[in-house]
Structures are given as C-alpha cells and as structure tokens.
C-alpha cells in the first residue's frame, strides 16, 4: 500500500500563547518566542467555488451561503488573518428543487336543517307521565283521559342534509442537497447536508355557516426559511468538519505545539492532560481556570 506522506512546518503560535499565559500568571520576565509571520497550516479565508443547481430558482435560493460559510470559517481554529496568501479552497456542489402538485377533491359536508310540521298527538296511548306533562303545559283545567281526541300541534323536526364543495389540495416537496469538499492536501474529508421538507395543505372559498364550513387558505412552506435553515445547517456541518479535521491533525501527537493546538478543540484529550500534568502538574481545564481567574 502506498502511503501518502505529507508534511508542513507549523509555526508555534499556540505554544507561544501558552508560554505567554504562564509568564503572566507568575509575573515572570517573558522572552519573545520567535514566530514566523505566517502560519502555513492555517488560512486567511475560504476560496469557495460554488455550483448549486437550482431547479426552481424563484422559489428556493441558497443565496447567502458564501457569506455564512466564510463567517463560520473565521470562527474556526483554521482561521488566521495573517495568512494573507493562504486560502482554503472549498467546492460547494449541490442541487435544490421544489415541486408542487395540486388536485381538487370534492368534500361532502352534512348539516341539520330544521323544519316545522303540524302533527296529531294521540293522547289516548300516552303514558301517565306524558299526560301529566301535557296537563302542566295546558293548565289544570284541561284534563286528559283516554277519551280525549287527538290534538294537532306545530312541531319542529330536523333532517340531515348533505352538500359538496370543491377543495384544492396542494402537496409540496422541497429537496436540498449540499456537499462541501476541501481542495487541499491537509484535508481529505468532505461534508454534506440533505433535507426534503414536505407539506400538504388545502384551500377552498366556500362558506356554509350551518355546516360550519368557512373558507380556508393554504399554508405553504416558507421557501426563505427552508433556504435559511439549509444554509445554517450546512454551515454548522462545515464548523463540525473543521473541528474534526483539526482534532485528526493535532490530537494524535505529543509534540508541544500539536498538544496546544489539540487542547483548543479537545480540552479533555488524553495527550493534552498528560502534557499539562507533566509540565505544570495540573490538568488543562485547571490551567484554564487559573488563567481566567488571573485575568479577572
């Protein structure tokens, strides 16, 4: 198997910072650590080459992706403003699409319609309770008996009615796929993000108060929010990937500069704590605690 051997001389910026901190904790006479102006292992920014196919650019547009990726990079450990001519090339490829299907459905609604009708009430077969109720209603003087002729009354009745109305049903389907690839021998990793937000919504303009049917307007997904969320998540993937790459590059070594670089991304790393215990007699987190307290 052919092993690819790649090496860079890395300036001791992070070790120098620790030396400075140590000197200030003990109020020591500090000696300047010779540092190169530039650090070839870090970059002043990203050189993004973007190729995102937008099937429906009017609906979803990953517009601010460059600015967001650049901002995320500047927050990463790989960023060093002094590395003027050293930019990290990043290819961003992907595609976004949007599809909306709609069809009309006939919705059946029912409601109760009231109507009145004259009805004969035959009291002769009424139960004793019904007769008593009737007696209360018409007065005591009107006594009922089995010989009472049938009475005619106006009665309210209800019948179930049905009506149909058209409803438009929309089905939305967004698709966002983004992939980032570093073009630099220091990095051999890529990162990606994909999401397919779906939505089903309905609308109609029919009003039927009796059936409690009122117009409904469709509630569509917000394409701007989807675009913003996708950019945000892809950006956080970049940040995670940069951190992983940093750890992969510096956390497997016991060299002083590597240890100090590693400590910034993985403060609980075994090598980091071993180094701090060996040289200062405390863990890295404890050293940081002392430093912060000293600054206060």
């Amino acid at each position: 198997m052919i092993y690819l051997l790649l090496a860079w001389i890395v300036s001791r910026f992070f070790s120098a910072e620790v030396a400075e901190t140590f000197a200030s904790i003990w109020k020591l006479k500090s000696k300047p650590v010779t540092l190169k102006k530039e650090d070839p292992s870090r970059f002043s920014g990203l050189k993004i080459e973007e190729k995102i196919n937008n099937t429906n650019p009017l609906v979803i547009s990953i517009g601010p992706i460059r600015a967001e990726l650049e901002k995320a990079f500047q927050r990463s450990l790989f960023y060093f403003s002094n590395s003027h001519n050293n930019q990290l090339r990043l290819f961003v490829i992907g595609n976004t699409s949007y599809r909306r299907d709609e069809h009309v459905e006939l919705i059946r609604a029912t409601y109760q319609e009231a109507y009145t009708s004259w009805e004969y009430i035959d009291m002769s077969h009424s139960s004793w309770e019904t007769m008593q109720a009737e007696q209360k209603k018409y007065g005591e003087y009107k006594a009922f008996s089995k010989n009472t002729p049938p009475t005619r009354e106006l009665v309210t009745r209800y019948r179930t009615k049905e009506f149909s109305y058209p409803m438009t049903v929309y089905k939305e389907n967004y698709d966002v796929k983004l992939e980032g690839r570093f073009e630099h021998p220091q990095f051999n990793t890529s990162f990606s993000f994909s999401d397919s937000p779906k939505n089903k919504t309905k609308s109609h303009s029919v009003t039927m108060v009796e059936a409690c049917v009122y117009p409904v307007s469709a509630s569509f997904l917000n394409p701007k929010k989807i675009a913003d969320d996708s950019v945000e998540k892809f950006t956080s993937k970049l940040a995670e990937q940069l951190k992983e790459d940093w750890i992969a590059q510096y956390c497997n070594s016991f060299q002083t500069e590597a240890v100090h670089r590693c400590s910034r991304a993985a403060p609980f790393d075994k090598n980091v704590n071993l180094w701090y215990q060996k040289y200062f007699g405390v863990d890295y987190e404890d050293f940081k605690k002392i430093t912060l307290n000293h600054r206060e």
């Binding site: 090496a7 001389i9 890395v10 001791r12 030396a19 003990w26 000696k31 010779t34 220091q186 200062f280």
Partner: protein, 159 residues
C-alpha cells in the same frame, strides 16, 4: 432542604419586596444553611475526610459573601476553628506540591481554596514561599520557551 426553602423565600421577597416576614425567613434560612454546613464540615473533618471538609468550608465561605449576615458568636467560633483546621490541611497540600516542584499546582490550590487561604494561616505560608515558587516557575518557563525555539514542528498526515 434549606436550599429549596431559600429559593422559595427569595422568590417571595422578589415578588413582594415589602413582605417583611418573607425577608425574616430568608435571613433565618441563610443562617441555618451556614450553621448546618459548618456541622457537616466538622463531621467530614472528624471522619478524616479533610479534602471534602475543606471544599465544603470553601463553598460556605463563598456563600457567606453573598448572604451578608451577622453571625452569632457560636457560629463564628465554629467557623474559626474549621478555618484553622482547613488551613493546616491546605498548608500540607501546598508543601507536598512544593516538594514536587509544581508551582502551577499550588496556583490551583490557591484558586480552589482562596477564601480559606485569605482567612487563615495558609496565607502567610503561601506568601513566604512565593519568591521560591516564582523562581521555579521562571526556570520552567525558560526551559519551555527554549524547547519551542529548538523544536521543528512538523505536521504529518499518514506518517
């Protein structure tokens, strides 16, 4: 238990600052926290768990700063006794770190127990050894910086 009660009484005072009975309860509960805490410190120390006793005492002293209470003579006397005992323990720990030539470890002890150190005899001991610690730290610093200048650090992937 007292901590939970204190949260509720303090919330009552925030809700109604004119509630004098709630204010009294806040003060009494705070006093109980300190009193009970000192008792725990004593038990831990008597159980020969000096590290836990010192940590508990440090926390109590930090709490006291926030509480701003006037303590009874009994509480003051117990506290002074515990500070004295904890100071002995801290002095021993500092001496141990000093023997190992680890000045930064002593800085950590100073950070972890700064209230006890400030209130007790460990302060004088620490001040007395400070110049020596600084000399050791200077040596460590010089070695560290010299090693940085001599070192060629290479980053290597797949080596």
């Amino acid at each position: 238990m007292y901590e939970e009660a204190l949260i509720k009484f303090e919330a009552a005072v925030i809700k109604d600052p004119s509630n004098t009975s709630a204010k009294t309860w806040v003060q009494e509960t705070r006093m109980n926290i300190i009193d009970k805490g000192l008792l725990e410190v004593r038990f831990l120390r008597m159980g020969n768990n000096k590290k836990a006793a010192a940590e508990k005492l440090e926390n109590l002293l930090r709490q006291q700063e926030k509480f701003q209470l006037v303590y009874s003579a009994a509480i003051m006397s117990t506290q002074e006794k515990e500070i004295l005992e904890a100071s002995h323990y801290i002095t021993q720990v500092i001496k141990q770190a000093q023997a190992e030539n680890m000045p930064t470890a002593i800085k950590l002890i100073e950070y972890n127990y700064d209230r006890i150190i400030a209130a007790g005899s460990a302060k004088n001991f620490l001040y007395s050894i400070y110049p020596e610690l600084q000399k050791i730290a200077q040596k460590q610093y010089d070695i560290f910086v010299a090693s940085l200048d001599s070192q060629s650090f290479f980053f290597c992937r797949s080596c």
